[in-house]
Symmetry: C2
Subunit: 399 residues, 2 copies
């Protein structure tokens, strides 16, 4: 019999999606499930994105350029990056199949098979799935819920650098913690990268979701850092176009972009209809982001306050993205999340959360934690928090 | 300075696209370029695909299932695969980001880093780009233009199997040669796979483009072969939806599909608008394919006959796809292809072809050959062949 590759053992099952069958079953039984498990917001796309698709004229759908259509790349530069103060040129942008492919490119460009990339745990769990595809090992540096998941001191980070380390990868704001890393923290990482010849990859797909008065500090804003900086981006969250599958990889390093071009050519082109929707979305007025941000601040405030009112639950107050990681008064949050779907009902309703353990290299460290995506309207979040409080009470009495 | 990965050396530049800058320059100078270099047909998509996009109602574009929307997978099964006699079940289909990603999955599932996959050269040159991403080496078994690129005897194929060989990969009908492999040839490869425990990957994206009376024989049609067969498919060519970026990987091997699911989850979902267009396209009447096929037969007959009338040019008569590989009376076809774009004009027109050398492991074997995609209407092909004849005449006198 033919044998499938070792990837089957190395590749984790998606933490975000592994409870799906139980949720499907609950819904098939007529149970209402509050989905706080996945970053799929309920907020409308900009009307101009919807119109772009409705008005798109085609009689056959050809390939676009491998690096994205010239119109889209130009519009990303002129209408988006310039407006948020990211100072780049047209040749620094390659359009990818969403942030997912931008991450593929990042690992393939920076790291050899058997190499290592430093991440700060808890980290976006798909990083480990993607890294494993290319034989890359993640070295996870711990950040603690009690410190609001701030970065550890430089000396602690440097301990994890080996001769096989090629890059540091962060998401800012962070998925899953919602932590917004400051300019000082970004410059600190940059110094480490300069000292140890490491690339600095920054996943900035939540750039528009920052809830402080300071502007977001991009990896592209670091001075004299062109050789090191690689930005990974996506329109999925920014314009509520998750299904469009359009992102980009951005770097001023010519070698990086030359290999990114080859990788882009090997898969012919990014989705053309998604490019059309994105081109339309880029005409969204500034008020679009402002309204979305206001809405998320209200949702965050409500959710985090409600969480901390539940006995034994702790969540820091995150300053970005639309996630928070909370510690629950349970021995194993994954068991609890499954039990919510299979056993618990409050007036015919239950809740879906993502166990946070798979966001850690050493899963034990996150065993009591969950990631919560506050992507529902506040009245729904209210009911979801009520379900959670009641469920924890019953779960712990049950034992 | 940080160092980019070894992939930069291993990954070939796309043979199909490397002449693009010269073509862009010619067009900027006002020259009309006949594009016979890329399989981007000028034929209309089914009207039902266009209508599906125009009528698609959404207020935000969510993720679909990682394996594709349930509606699309069901429709692929019921409306397409059943109708062409490919006998599979719903759980045997995972929707991918076009045939390109289906190939990614194939290499990742079947072959470890450092492993080998057998292909028959000339082969679709992106196979080597994709294989290199995963540290996979292609072992190319030669097929000859003089034999119409038929497969060599079993003994010759077996010579290339090593302990690191994990799979055989073919495209049927073949890109770039247009060769349609017969049931007997498919069964022969299957026997080799059984004997040596190899997966048999078959890229069937040109299935609808067969020009003999025999039905296309799919890898999924091979009896008692469930563990070995993996089909890679795409709607790009079938429905002239290249830009939709929708394909699929099909196998009855549960282990294969279980790893394919993990790979699918790691990139969240295939493009949603492309799925909508494809779902629409699946309502195309049988007459759609018949008309397309009739058109391609006429184009093929014209092109191949015209090629063979040019002194020193030889092309076999292919029975599938919309390509042919022709040998030209030049020392180096790549130089000639470049010269066409940079130096040659006939009444302000020229021609773009793809040098065939990169479709060979040993590029020397294809150094005099080009791949021609007969994807224009016959009056355009007539002019293109006239340009080619004149260009060859002048090119050879020039020396």
């Amino acid at each position: 019999m033919p044998q499938i590759s070792h990837l089957a053992e190395h590749m984790p099952t998606s933490a975000i999606r592994m409870l799906n069958p139980f949720a499907e079953k609950a819904k098939a039984d007529g149970v209402k499930v509050y989905h706080l498990n996945i970053g799929a917001p309920d907020i409308k796309s900009p009307q101009c994105a919807i119109d772009a698709i409705r008005n798109y004229q085609f009689d056959h759908l050809s390939y676009s350029n491998s690096i994205g259509s010239p119109e889209l790349r130009r519009a990303l530069l002129d209408k988006y990056y310039k407006s948020v103060g990211v100072d780049i040129s047209l040749e620094d942008i390659i359009v990818t199949v969403a942030g997912s492919e931008a991450l593929d490119f990042f690992f393939q460009i920076t790291t050899n098979f058997g190499g290592e990339v430093i991440v700060f745990e808890p980290y976006y769990c798909n990083y480990s799935a993607i890294a494993s595809k290319f034989g890359v090992k993640l070295a996870g540096i711990h950040t603690d819920i009690k410190d609001g998941f701030r970065l550890p001191p430089v000396s602690e980070i440097e301990k994890h650098i080996t001769p096989r380390t090629s890059a540091i990868l962060i998401s800012n704001p962070s998925n899953p913690t919602g932590t917004l890393f400051s300019k000082e923290e970004m410059l600190q990482i940059a110094d480490i990268c300069r000292k140890h010849d490491l690339f600095f990859g920054c996943d900035e797909v939540y750039r528009e979701f920052c809830y402080t008065d300071d502007p977001h500090f991009s990896v592209m804003d670091i001075p004299d850092f062109d050789r090191y900086a690689i930005m990974l981006d996506s329109v999925s969250k920014r314009f509520n176009l998750c299904g469009a599958r359009i992102g980009c990889v951005i770097s001023r390093n010519k070698e990086v972009m030359s290999l990114a071009l080859k990788l882009a050519q090997a898969r012919l082109c990014p989705p053309v209809l998604g490019q059309v929707a994105t081109l339309g979305a880029l005409d969204a007025p500034a008020s679009y982001f402002e309204e979305v941000r206001k809405e998320y601040i209200a949702r965050r405030n409500f959710t985090v306050n409600a969480l901390n009112k539940i006995p034994g639950v702790y969540s820091p107050m995150p300053n970005g993205a639309f996630y928070t990681v909370a510690e629950l008064p349970v021995d194993n949050a994954a068991d609890f999340c499954k039990w919510l779907l299979t056993d618990f009902r409050l007036n015919g309703e239950t809740l879906m959360l993502t166990p946070a353990a798979p966001f850690y290299i050493n899963e034990e460290k996150g065993v009591k934690q969950v990631r919560i995506a506050y992507v529902l309207e506040i009245p729904e979040l209210e009911k979801a928090m009520e379900v959670l409080a009641k469920a924890l009470d019953i779960y712990n009495k049950r034992k």
